[in-house]
C-alpha cells in the first residue's frame, strides 16, 4: 500500500484532487458538467501530443518538433482538401495529416538513427525548419473558410446535455485521444517493440547487446510521434474551424511539462501512460480553471511553473530519501 502512495502517479492524482477541491470550493461551477466537458475538450489535443512525447521520453530522447509537424500537417491537409477534394470526408483528412506527420517524423528519425545525432539538436533544427518551410512554401495566411467536412466535425457532439443556459457538448474527438491512449498503452506494455523502447531508454548498450535493432526502434519512435502529431494538428484545426500556420507551435514545453509531471524522466527509461494522462489533466485544470478562482491569466503560467517544480522536485527528494534508506538497510 505504502508503495502505491509513494508512486508518482498517486502524487499527481492527489494534487489533482486537492486542486479541484480548492477551485471547486471557491467556485462551484468547477464541478458543473459544462466545465467538465470543457476540461475534456481542452485535453484532446494535448493528450494526443503527450502520448507521442511520452514514447520519445521513455526511449531516452526528446522531441520538440512535434508542434511544427502538427501545424504543418494541419495546414497542408486543409489546403489539399480545399483544392483537390473539397467533398472528402474528415477521415480522409485525418489520413492525409497522419501521412504528412509520418513523413516529417521520418526526417527526424533519419538524422537520429542514421547519424546518431542528439535528439534535442535534431528536433530543435527540424522544429524551425518544418515551420519555416510551411510559412515560406505552403502558406502563411490563416484559412478560415475550411472544407465542409472539417466544419461539420467541429460542430458535432458525442454527448449533448441541455443546461439552463445553452447546451454542454462533449466533442467526439475525445474518442481519438482515448484510442491513441489505449494504443500507446498496449504498445508500451504488451509488445516487444514497446519493451525495446524502455530498454533503449534504460541502457542503450545493453539493449544493443540483447539484440534490439536500435535504428529500427528509433525510426518507429520518431515516425510514430510524427504520425500522432499530424493527427493532433488536424484535430486541433478541425475543432477550431481554422488552419492558422502560427497556431500550436510554442506549446511544446507545455506538453513536455505535462508528461514530465506525470512521472516520465528526461533521462529515459521511465514513464507510464497513466501518469501521462494524469499529468495532462493537471496541466489542463491549472490552465483552464485557475481563472475560476480569480487567478489572473498571466499568473497561471507562474502557477504551472510552480506545480512543475514541486511536482518533479518532490519525487526526486523522495527517491533520494528512499535510496538513503535502502543503503542503510543494505549496510545493516
Amino acid at each position: 500500500m505504502s508503495r502505491i502512495f509513494r508512486s508518482n502517479e498517486a502524487l499527481v492524482a492527489v494534487t489533482i484532487v486537492l486542486l479541484s477541491l480548492i477551485i471547486g470550493f471557491n467556485n462551484p461551477t468547477f464541478f458543473s458538467v459544462g466545465n467538465l466537458f470543457d476540461l475534456l475538450r481542452s485535453s484532446i489535443v494535448m493528450g494526443i501530443f503527450a502520448m507521442g512525447v511520452l514514447i520519445v521520453i521513455v526511449s531516452g530522447g526528446i522531441d520538440v518538433s512535434f508542434t511544427a509537424i502538427g501545424v504543418f500537417a494541419l495546414y497542408s491537409t486543409t489546403r489539399i482538401m480545399k483544392e483537390f477534394m473539397p467533398d472528402a470526408s474528415i477521415w480522409i483528412g485525418f489520413m492525409i495529416a497522419a501521412t504528412i506527420g509520418l513523413g516529417l517524423g521520418m526526417i527526424n528519425a533519419f538524422f537520429i538513427a542514421r547519424f546518431k545525432l542528439p535528439t534535442l539538436i535534431v528536433t530543435l533544427g527540424t522544429l524551425s525548419m518544418f515551420h519555416g518551410f510551411l510559412l515560406f512554401a505552403i502558406g502563411n495566411q490563416i484559412i478560415r473558410d475550411v472544407p465542409p467536412a472539417m466544419d461539420a466535425f467541429a460542430r458535432s457532439a458525442l454527448v449533448r446535455i441541455p443546461l439552463e443556459r445553452g447546451v454542454a457538448n462533449l466533442h467526439p474527438a475525445i474518442l481519438i485521444t482515448l484510442t491513441v491512449t489505449i494504443v500507446v498503452w498496449l504498445l508500451l506494455r504488451y509488445t516487444m517493440l514497446g519493451r525495446g523502447i524502455y530498454a533503449l531508454g534504460g541502457a542503450r548498450e545493453a539493449a544493443e547487446r540483447a539484440g534490439f535493432n536500435i535504428p529500427r526502434i528509433q525510426y518507429f519512435i520518431y515516425g510514430f510521434v510524427g504520425l500522432l502529431s499530424g493527427i493532433a494538428g488536424m484535430t486541433f484545426g478541425s475543432m477550431a474551424r481554422q488552419a492558422n500556420p502560427q497556431d500550436i507551435v510554442g506549446t511544446e514545453l507545455n506538453v513536455i511539462a505535462a508528461v514530465v509531471l506525470g512521472g516520465a524522466q528526461l533521462t529515459g527509461g521511465r514513464g507510464t501512460v497513466i501518469g501521462t494522462v494524469l499529468g495532462v489533466m493537471l496541466v489542463v485544470i491549472a490552465n483552464n480553471s485557475l481563472v475560476l478562482v480569480g487567478v489572473p491569466t498571466v499568473w497561471q503560467r507562474v502557477v504551472i511553473g510552480l506545480i512543475i517544480l514541486v511536482g518533479t522536485g518532490l519525487p526526486a527528494i523522495q527517491a533520494k530519501r528512499a535510496s538513503k534508506h535502502s543503503a542503510r538497510l543494505a549496510q545493516a
Binding site: M192, A203, A206, G269
Partner: protein, 497 residues
Amino acid sequence: MADEIIRLTGIHKSFAGVRALQDVSLTLERGKIHCLVGENGCGKSTLIKIIAGVYQRDSGSVQINGKEYEQLHPIDSIREGIQVIYQDFSLFPNLTVAENIALNEQLAEGRRFVNWKHVRHVAEDAIAQIEVQMPLDARVEDMSVANKQLIAIAKAMRQNAQLIIMDEPTSALTEREIRVLFTVIHKLQQRGIAFLFVSHKLNEVLEISEAIIVMRNGRVVSTGLANEYNTTRLVYEMTGQSIAEKSYEFTPDLSQPALLRVENLTVPGALYNVSFEMRRGEIVGVTGLLGSGRTELALALFGMLPITAGQIEIDETPVKIRSVQDAIAHGIGYVPEDRLTEGLFLEQSIGRNVVVRTIDKLRGAFGLTDPARVKQQVDEWVTSLRIKTSDPDLPVKTLSGGNQQRVVVAKWLASNPRLMILNGPTMGVDIGSKNEIHELIKRLAGEGMGLLVISDDIPELLQTCNRILLMRNGSIVQEILPGETNENELAAKLIED
C-alpha cells in the same frame, strides 16, 4: 575431444597496426573453471570479444564444440552457448528483475508480444536453477551489485549457457557475497557448465579456478593447473618481473604528540564508541565487512557524517569537525572509494583536477588564476607521483585506473594534508599500478604524513600497514599487527560474526 568447448589456435589480431593478440592458443573445457589473468591492456578483453564474435580475428582458427568457424558472429557464439557477462552486467536498471531475466530470451525467440505470465515463469525457473532467492518484481536499480551479478548469471542460464565468461566478477563484491557467488558457480559447474573468469584479484583467482591462463602483451605466457601457481608466480608471469613487497616498518617517535586521537566517537546507526590513536608516519589499516562502519569512520573524520558524541584531537588539541571545510582546515584529506564519481572531474584535464583543491592559492593579479603557477604545480605533481601521461592537458578519463587514482592523491597532496584517509586505494587497478600506489603510500608516510587506509584487500593491508584496526558493527573490535598474523587468519577474522 568431446569435453572441449573452445579451441583457439594461433589467433592474431591487430588494431590499426597495433598488435593486440599474437599467436594465442588455448582450450576451454566443459565443467571446468578457467581463469584468464593479466594486466590492463594485455589483450584479455580483445580475446573475450573474439570468443564472443564481437571482433573478427586476423588469422588463426576458432573451434567451438568441435565445429570450425571461418567467421564467428555474436549470434553464432550465443547459439553455441557462450554467454559473456560484462562488468556492467548488461542489465536494464529501469526494468524489473523478472523482465531483465526473460527479455533476451523473448527477443531471441522472435516474439512480438509480451506475455507477462510467461516472463514471470521464465524468471522463476531461472532463479530456481541457480538456487537463490530474489524479489522478481523489484527494479534492478534497487538491487545490490552482487544480486545484479546473480541476475546476469540467471539470464545466461536461461539461454542454455555452456560457457559463462565473467569480466572481473568479484571486483565490487564483499567477502560474503563472493562466497555466495562461488557457491552458485560450483553448483553450475557440477552440471557441466564451464566458466572463464577474467580477473586480477589473484587470491580469489587461485581459490576458485582449476585452470589458469596468464597473458602478457598480447600473448599467452603461461597456462596450467591452478595448484601449480601461487600469488608470487602469478605476479611474475603477469608482469614479467618479480615485485617483492616488503611490509612497512614503523617505530613510533613517542616524543612527538599524537597526530590524531579519536575518543568514543559515535554516529548513531553507524559508529559506536570508536577510539584509536595514530602518529606521524603511521599507516593504519581499517578493515571490516561492508557495513562494519569502516567507510562511515572515514566520512565522520572528514566531516561528512554528523558526530553526536566523542572527541577528535589533532596534535593533542581537541577539534570540531562539522563539515568538509573543517576537515580540510585541520589538514585532513580524503580519497573516496569510488574515485570516478566522487573524486574526479573525468572530462576535465589532468592538470585542472590536480589543482582544483588549491586553486584559491594560485591566484595572481586581479584574483585570476596565474597559468604559469598552475602549470608549475601540475608539472611538479605529475613528475613526483609519476602519472603516466603525454600531456597533463588531456582529460583524466584517458588515464588508466591506477593513474587516475594517483591524480586523486595528487589533488589532496597539493593541499598539504597532515592526515590522508584512503578508502579502497587500489580498488579496480591492475597489479603494477597497485604496487606503485603502495610504494607511494609508504613514501608519504616516510615523509611524516599519517595515513588511514580503509580496505578489505587483505594482502594490501598486511603489506602496507603497520597496524590494522578490525571493525565490526560500528566498533573497533581488535587491533592487529601485520607481523603477528597471516592472510588466512585475517580473512577468517574479517568474515567472523
